[in-house]
């Protein structure tokens, strides 16, 4: 077989909506037919959606997916339709005793399913099921590996190419699903195995793969190498849209790509947009005449801005919210948030609310007003001091009746009063204003704050979505610069907001005019927290202290060389700081995150479903305690080399 016209159906998949997704597919199939495509390829799980939680436990929903899948198969006259759906074997059970489900790859042609001639089912199933980060495939789906074990055969036996006849010629298709193409960590390589049963004409990887900073660069490296190893072209089709698992919202960037047998990128779809791309493949090898396509960088702050804007837009649309309220303090986080939401909804649908107490400087109050003016948003000022004073008064003046003594009275420390301010802003003012405005109010917390619970529950940690909750503070600054320079081309975020010391302004101890601010030293702690939270092999105090003792801390966490030496007077102070933040990260921080809003994920590790955690309290390993003692006793000679 020499020439093949394929259509990449980079569709938006709406999770849990087989009806809408099938309609999108039928439309694309019709377009592809008009353009004389031989084959159209849709993403993994494009009928039901991928992140559905425990919806897979609804038998009637499974039958509904089968119903809509049949409509797609019926529409495959004149061209071959490849798509993802749940495949159900009603005669068997999974390990949970429920009906057996497979994450499946359907190949249909002229109203019939293909590929059943050398496989137990009239569809192919996923071999490698990711079970890390946000992925939960093994909870719901039976893998090819388990099926092989049940049948008493090697998994290799079940990995066969699909035989298709197109334009009167035989096409041998390697059909794999998402993780099957990321086999480096597994002891089974589906592509290599199917190749060995070849010659295979074309590999197709249907995926439902969320955006993660740097993921596409890695995919291009991994897939190009695979393709070169096997010399067979590969079409990768990924969906766009957003899907969430409760506490974590993922954007899907599409970026469907076709690789030549030499591993070059022939063509790809743009990120974050629905696209039906027609590509004429020369299966005898070689590039198209126009040569390899350029691939967008996905490491820079620009790609994060794109993902965040897209994610906010689709999330608001999915929950039917057209207006939002943001509390703006005159600080950097709320300013960046205001820009993102305004760019999505337009200034007429964004209401910025400044809520000063006696601790808020005229500096930040006027900056908040300037930001609103620059963006053209609706703006209001609702002071909280009077309400906070009355709350404090009510609590300390109301007698508590005790059956065993005289009435007692409660008292509130200044720290408790700081939290009363934060809750007054969010739960009293913003929640009420948002309902009156006909929308929701945002949570402006960033990842640094979320890590150590530097925020108040039902206060600044409240809101319908934490759009910046997966950005370290230094990334929030990067984004502010990017927005001013690349999006608006002017200082829509006033320069003073960027230059100001970050502060919660909840007491006179946090006066921005005196340069006092947050206890978090972001240029150092951002990187320390990242080592705790994002490293594939997570760092804990034992690792950090060991790096510190061996003088290799900066290179291991990635902060500026010499910085810890400038911040801490010596080991004692370093250790106190380490234990303080570790205590907050694994202590109160967990309790707060349990009740935090959903986070919009961009990193390779976001809070929520991507970071399973238990409220277990603070722990230090035996080796940490030993190391600490050695260091504090200045027995440096006892240190490990």
């Amino acid at each position: 077989m020499q020439a093949l016209r394929i259509a990449l159906g980079q569709m938006e998949v709406v999770p849990g909506r087989p009806d809408l997704n099938t309609r999108s597919m039928l439309d694309m199939i019709e377009s592809a037919r008009v353009k004389n495509a031989d084959m159209i390829i849709f993403p993994e799980m494009c009928v039901p959606g991928y992140f559905l939680g425990d919806t897979w436990e609804q038998r009637s929903f499974l039958r509904d997916c089968e119903h809509y899948g049949r409509l797609v198969v019926e529409a495959s006259s004149g061209l071959c339709v490849l798509f993802g759906n749940v495949g159900v074997d009603w005669s068997k059970t999974g390990d949970d005793g429920r009906v057996r489900k497979y994450n499946s790859f359907f190949i249909s042609q002229n109203g019939e399913l293909r590929g059943g001639d050398n496989f137990p089912y009239p569809f192919r199933i996923k071999t490698l099921q990711p079970n890390y980060r946000e992925f939960d495939d093994t909870r719901h789906f039976y893998s090819l590996r388990k099926l092989a074990q049940e049948m008493g055969v090697q998994a290799e036996k079940l990995l066969q190419p699909v035989n298709l006849e197109i334009n009167g010629k035989l096409l041998k298709l390697g059909c794999i699903l998402c993780e099957d193409g990321w086999s480096d960590d597994y002891n089974l390589e589906p592509i290599a195995i199917i190749s060995s049963k070849g010659p295979v004409d074309l590999f197709v990887n249907i995926s439902s793969s969320p955006f993660t900073t740097g993921k596409n660069s890695k995919r291009n490296r991994v897939f190009s190498r695979q393709v070169r190893d096997n010399g067979v072209p590969l079409a990768y089709v990924n969906n766009v849209g957003i899907q969430n698992i409760g506490k974590t919202v993922y954007t899907f960037d599409g970026q469907s790509t076709v690789y030549s047998g030499e591993g070059e990128i022939i063509d790809h779809c743009p990120p974050f947009s629905t696209e039906l791309k027609i590509i004429d493949l020369n299966l005898s090898g070689g590039l198209r005449v126009d040569g390899p396509a350029a691939v967008p960088d996905d490491w820079d702050i620009g790609s994060i801005q794109l993902a965040l804007s897209y994610g906010i837009e689709r999330f608001l649309s999915s929950i039917g919210m057209g207006r939002v309220v943001l509390g703006v303090s005159g600080g950097i986080d709320s300013a960046v948030g205001a820009c993102l939401y305004t760019s999505v909804l337009g200034p007429e649908n964004v209401l910025l609310v400044n809520m000063p107490s006696r601790y808020n400087s005229t500096t930040t109050r006027s900056l908040a007003a300037r930001l609103a003016q620059n963006l053209g948003c609706l703006y209001t000022v609702m002071p909280i001091q009077e309400s906070v004073d009355r709350t404090v008064q009510q609590i300390v003046d109301t007698p508590v009746v005790s059956p065993v003594s005289d009435d007692v009275y409660l008292s509130l420390s200044s720290f408790m009063q700081e939290n009363i301010q934060a809750r007054d802003r969010s739960s009293r003012v913003l929640a009420g204003v948002a309902s009156a405005f006909g929308g929701g109010f945002t949570c402006n917390a960033n990842k640094s704050e979320m890590t150590v619970g530097y925020s108040t529950l039902y206060g600044d940690l409240a809101g319908f979505l934490a759009a910046l909750g997966d950005l370290w503070k230094h990334q929030v600054y990067d984004l502010a610069h990017f927005i001013n320079e690349k999006i608006y081309g002017c200082e829509v975020i006033p320069r003073e907001i960027i230059d100001l010391v970050p502060s919660a302004e909840l007491s006179f101890e946090q006066s921005v005019d005196e340069g006092k601010g947050d206890p978090i030293v972001y240029p150092y702690h951002d990187y320390l927290f990242r080592a705790f939270m994002e490293y594939w092999n997570r760092a804990i105090p034992e690792d950090v202290l060991d790096w510190y003792a061996r003088g290799v801390l900066e290179e291991n966490i990635g902060c500026a060389k010499g910085l810890p030496g400038k911040i801490f007077s010596g080991p004692k102070e370093f250790i106190e700081d380490l234990e303080k933040w570790w205590g907050l990260y694994t202590g109160l921080g967990v309790a707060k995150r349990i009740q935090a809003p959903p986070v919009l994920a961009v990193s390779r590790r976001a809070y929520g479903f991507d970071h399973r955690e238990s409220q277990n309290g603070v722990y230090f390993t035996a080796r940490y305690l030993e190391l600490k003692q050695i260091i504090l006793d200045r027995r440096r000679d006892s240190l490990p080399q």
Copy 2:
């Protein structure tokens, strides 16, 4: 081998604390040695704890577990110590590319590990890894099934008895972990396979198995049958304590049990208490002379009360909270909550706060005061009307500045004002009072409310723990009766609280004195919601409507016969009601649960980690829409039979 003295080490496992757990184990080993035990058996994962979230991704924590595991092995002189810990193969990786971890069974004797003679490791590993409900084993641990596949052998080959020498005689031990004994839904039965390699003298199942209503009755049925099938005695050892996965808190009831080869229960440890039980086993068969032991019922409300009290006590202790504040409305939920917390902490550490608005009747206000008096708790009244009025006034009176028009003003509907009341109570009053009192405030929501989001975010859905969040409303009533009759033997919860119509009292439309209350008809909706939420194969509107059409609704959901006919005037009203609640359950209810407090689990399905859900909105299947049309068109003859 004829006689064996075994010690069941039913210890409290503190998750994430290898240091504390090892200390408990060393103490129990010493006691067992003094009592001349031949063998002491500890639970699964008793060194590290079981529900640790992604702590398993910390390499230094794994080394710490190994360190403490070695201390246990070293303590095994003179007796055999069986225990659970993570087993690490530092030379291999799991499917996630991280170092390979096994959920392992260690057998140590005289300072050395046993069982490596017929197995690739000096420890045994779990074969069947649960991956449903709250269980997440496959995310972190490599199973025996995967190991067998990697080695290219049948799993059967790796399932061998452990050969031990005790008192100079050979003992063949079948060592399994938790789920390995619950193999009914798997295509592999570890007990039967190991038996076939026998003769095995004794099976040992080390478990970390949370309390679930009815689970122990089922375990006794399942395990007795297994034992009878194989004719070999079985010792089951489970831990006590609590462990949580963020949003869901589990109690572990222990109830470690020894079964004779005939399947009779020889002896068992009490629920929810640490115990070292010594049992002399006659391995030649037959019961002990004193005959089979009685087993406590774990289906009744008493077992739920026990689990809740234990869970509250351990949870408070684990987070270091010694005092709590409850908002008491005069309604049933807060009354039951007040009783539970008071029984755990004593009345001097419980502060009950009544927060009336103009909508609260003198009836409920005086009932709240009587409850406080009956319990002897601290009590205070903090009215909210003034604060609510001022908030409403501030929101509607403050001009919103628009860059394109005159100032605009917001307005608040009565529904919005209801939510302002609820938030004022929790986020303004209770949160402030709790901090001043030196504790936290509770969330009194029940499962019926949580299902459909009948509660206000940052309002009555706030708090540090939802202790009643896994009880349907009718179970809250059962618990109230149980508390009065069995715990206190008097009406500590005033009878009027139980008899009163349930109401939020947030508007005059919800006047209890006029018999007006919640829109939820608990005797019907509790059962409808349970079918959505708790059924192993979850029901959705398609199933419910089908049952309704076929006249078999009541028997399928379990409510009183004829009840739907009394509530609804006909199919149209029935369908409207069904769609309304389904919409809330899968719509706003999800958004609220994402930010809800942890739930104390008692049922076979609790909200939180046991119920993975996505904020995907409301969906009706094609078959539902068809069925609905048929019913509304009164084309009954078109209905399926």
